[in-house]
Point group: D2
Chain length 384, copies 4
């Protein structure tokens, strides 16, 4: 933050888990990063006024709006941050972009490819007018994963052969855990596939710098009914897990698994990449570490390096603490918003944009079509 | 070994890597385990007499035979141990069984399902006459994996939801590594799939006590030609890696990957199983450890237990050293042969038998068919 | 934060590393914790007005003072947070307490036992008037270490036999690294011993609930001169490392090491405790994990549990994110300040108090005396 | 083993744990290593003839002797391997050496410095006559630790600053575990100090290539009485644990701990060394791994390498299995005996010799004297 930094009026829609963590980032980003624009936390959107007010008070927003359409129209708002369930993303994001507001949208970008396409088109039109948009794949901003991307881009892995990515959680392992909106297709779009599978699909594409071109897989719902808040059983209409194989544009071979039933794995977002010159491995449960195998080293001392990614030369870390003083989950959002503010300030396109979000959506749709057709190999580009 | 132990005449065919490790087990098994039969290392089979003699001298075999047919017929031979490439297994094993010799056969059981079926039929006929047969899936005898099987059998994992198994090596990562028989389809049958994929297919079925009922996947050959001993390029006619999803008989969801291109992973045979009550994880690179998550524990102290599987109450360990004094790779063969000798002595069927080997073969064939048909879902029982 | 929360005016002295992290905690604590008092960031103290203003602007303080005496006197200040080098702690803290301000003081409490005693006496006098004081041993508020304390207090470890604690850094490994105030005895008091040794001494006493009664050890300065900012060599007048053995009040045997020369160890603050019923191990480089061995478990499945201390029932964690979404270094300060605000609001004594800081100081002094007298066993209570 | 290899007649005294593992090495060494002398397992010494015969039968010794004096005199014996408790080492070893037999002696070399000195003198006299002697610090032959020594010798660690070594076991944690000879001073000499402390003292000296010049420490006996086989309580007359600090000849700072009360640690023989250019860490519970930090690497990718020490270029490994196929505890003895046979065959001095054993003994004696004198700093060279 510098004396001359201009401010940017922020509106946020939604105030559950994602709202809490985004608020934290908006509140603190300029305390650590030299961003060209200082965020003003102008208004929080929520349908229930009382609950929205409580959240605004706690999170530090100056006002509330119960109608997102009002919020999008406000003159004191320059950017809309969308933290609502996926079925609402398209409508809000497109309206905001058309109103000339920059947009940060939580992932997955949308619940369908069709929605995602409309959003990407709206983003492209807005981009031409200098209005920016970003989809919140926050794991790209884990310093260790950002470092992984750098090493691949520098050619340290050589020709890529393998990606294996899993996202393992266990909060549904207990068959008596209650029904939530995340298990209803009409709101969540899909289950583990869209919620956490989206993250590893994006991570695989981000770290490798490639596209997933085809997939084959299937999904499963282990517990078909759950008890709702009203005490009645309700059908679970989304997948509990998804497993699929895939190909990257270079021909590399990939495997993916997203599940909420890996008992004991709390948030194990893992990715390993093997190339002809080196390999990388990451596990979010140890988020400050990146493992790197340098195939150019003599065999006597070769071995996976446990890089504690907390050195000043590691991405984003210089803004924080001395080496070995690890970062946490919410830092990834602060980094994301720092990059977004810089892009807006500099007039460049923030990454990942809605086109990236659409590409993830197409991969997810390809998995669903493959699953519906006996795991048949499915091209991602054919996806609508 | 007891005073009254009878002896068993052993013949072994093949004296490369597997021959060395089997010899070690035959030489030492009765020094640690109270087996009802003491092995006599009677004869070693090898086509080149000079090389066979050198191997026999080194490994401790009393004589050599250059023709396996002679070896199988010898009166002083009670058991034939087959350590040759897969294309020779069927002929030798069937001849040995028909000659009334017990058989231990290296994995994969055969190069085709048809051969494996004939072997399983011969084994069943021999069994009726008290002649025993076993296929050498040695990883079942890693104490930690054997303990894993026990915990599943005791119900400690509850209803099984997930299996994820990989076998990662890197000895072909270097595109200039030379041609070997393991890369020729006519000798090896397949590449990573049959060589190391067979191990994780068996391990998944062993640990869960279930069958793989269907699969979908594909294979890849990254380096299509390699330089042979004669200096000329030769086509690689087997897969370099195989990736596939699958289902177990209980409905559990499984993923598999076998590769020789995971740079930095030397022999990472890994399996994780998640159930409704518990989870297990194993990595052969830390072969003396089993990780167990007990879902019945209170959340405050729940976590994956790092079980150092070197306690007297762990399988096979009581025969060896005090706690914390780890075992190595070759112990798995000593355990296997101890169990085989006990089964022969007690007149029971050793595990895994040729029927188990056939079942693995059918899974591998299903993967190959699926791969040939666009990753289409393929039932294992349809395999011929 | 509730509507009815009263506010508390905060002044902070010092704005380097500790100032940055304390500011972050003051700015955010009430966003996550239901504290009875909301902090107002009133004034930042710093000798150089320009630099203080820049820091205040970045960190979010409303005003600056260049004379800490003025700051301590201000009516709008209720609490003074001391983040300056150790040689200034006593004077500022005592003045603040006498002015009726609550005090939070960075560790080590002071540079000498005599200063620490005067501070503890001042704190005791203030306490009688309802004025609270706390020393900032932030590692107590790592959720995993706080959980460790709980498990010991619940008797899960039984009778304690061993403590082994190390604090390993490497920022002085490079003999050409420049001179800093931390290497001058008159400012820093001591080197690794007081800076990081203090943390493990406090952690050992905190986790066990015991006192260190005697020690034997020595210190070393590996690099006796370093280049200063003016280009001239300057003597290093503090220790580079300290190693010592010790006894706890229960008779348990302890070992300690603090060093800035453990190349590759960035911030490895580690402690392991072994008891007759259980054991615990922690390493700050993996700060979200606690390892717990439960000796009451049957040997078959016993093993160190890797507790990922991010569950709602773990200390402090409920205020943050879902399981598996790890916390970082600065959270420990937020927790510390939340506890301090609660204690002030509830009229109780915050922990650790200045008496705890004094006790740590006495242990450090005993180590220095032992070091000066040929590692002779030295009683802690004799220390002045 | 080559056709032309001559044989060496071996006698072994003692047939408990160490006898079992030494027998295994004698039986197998020439099957894997090209040693110039093939061992003949001539005779096993044991006081109880029946038990000795059973052990000889199981372990593969051709005959037994109940009087070690007879055994030492036999013409068909070229080497005496001493696996008895420490109080008998000196008498047997000196008699054997004087009879012109090579000697392999288990550690610790003796129960007192005086005995060890007499043994070292006898060894020096025998050496002049071409009679060799070795003390069995088997951990030197863990491939990972042998590699550690190589890296230090190559200067990869630079100037050494720190050694921290612990040997943690837990078999006495249970206060009701029964009395054994290992807890009687007259037989065992000392407790954890001599039994396992000896190993880490030797390892520290071996890996660094330096001597421990001074120590300060203390010992403790947590459980003073234990129930004997006869049902009566008996005094424990040795230490349960020992902790000490020390100096190496280069000035490096060291810490040591040996205990049998570290609940959950089964055989955690650990050593870490930090230098100005690099660091090394090893834990026997993961015996096939060496961790190496290369300070010359750029900070971006620097990190401890997890070297899986199973590559052909790693010490001893070429004789065994392919990469990633780990070795176990007993391999260290096979390596030791391979080196001993080579030294005898080549007419060189095997390492470590009795002089090395004596040096370890002096360190242990210095620890005991320091413990007796209030942890006072004690020079190792003054020890008698």
């Amino acid at each position: 933050m510098t004396e001359s930094a201009q401010s940017l009026g922020i509106a946020m829609v939604g105030h559950a888990f994602m709202g809490a963590v985004h608020s934290h980032a908006w509140r603190n980003v300029h305390r650590f990063f030299d961003v060209p624009l200082t965020p003003r936390m102008v208004v929080l959107g929520g349908r229930d006024e009382q609950r929205a007010k409580e959240a605004a008070d706690r999170f530090g927003w100056a006002a509330v709006e119960t109608d997102w359409r009002e919020l999008v129209r406000r003159d004191d708002v320059d950017l809309v941050d969308i933290c609502t369930p996926g079925d609402t993303h398209a409508e809000i994001a497109i309206a905001a972009l058309e109103a000339g507001k920059h947009v940060l949208c939580e992932k997955p970008l949308a619940n369908t490819v069709a929605e995602a396409e409309r959003m990407a088109e709206a983003a492209a039109r807005a981009e031409a007018r200098g209005v920016r948009s970003m989809v919140a794949f926050n794991y790209r901003r884990v310093p260790a994963l950002s470092l992984a991307r750098q090493l691949v881009a520098e050619g340290r892995l050589g020709e890529l052969r393998h990606v294996r990515a899993v996202y393992l959680q266990d909060w549904l392992s207990d068959a008596t855990a209650p029904m939530t909106w995340r298990l209803r297709k009409e709101q969540a779009g899909s289950g583990a596939l869209g919620d956490i599978g989206a993250h590893i699909v994006d991570a695989a594409q981000f770290v490798t710098g490639e596209h997933i071109t085809g997939v084959s897989g299937f999904v499963e719902t282990f517990v078909p009914h759950r008890r709702g808040a009203d005490g009645a059983d309700e059908d679970v209409t989304v997948d509990d897990c998804a497993v699929f194989t895939g190909r990257l544009s270079s021909g590399a071979v990939a495997t993916f698994e997203a599940t909420r039933y890996a008992l004991g794995r709390k948030n194990a977002m893992r990715i390993e990449v093997n190339g002809s010159r080196g390999s990388l491995a990451f596990d979010f449960e140890s988020m400050n570490e990146l493992w790197f195998y340098d195939g150019d080293e003599p065999g006597e001392t070769a071995g996976f390096h446990r890089i504690v990614a907390t050195e000043p030369q590691h991405p984003y870390v210089g803004a924080w603490w001395p080496p070995g003083h690890g970062l946490g989950y919410e830092h990834t959002f602060t980094h994301e918003i720092a990059d977004l503010l810089r892009a807006i300030g500099e007039g460049t396109s923030p990454q990942p944009g809605f086109a990236d979000g659409l590409r993830v959506q197409r991969v997810l749709a390809a998995v669903e079509r493959s699953a519906a057709e006996g795991a048949r190999w499915t091209q991602v580009d054919d996806m609508k």
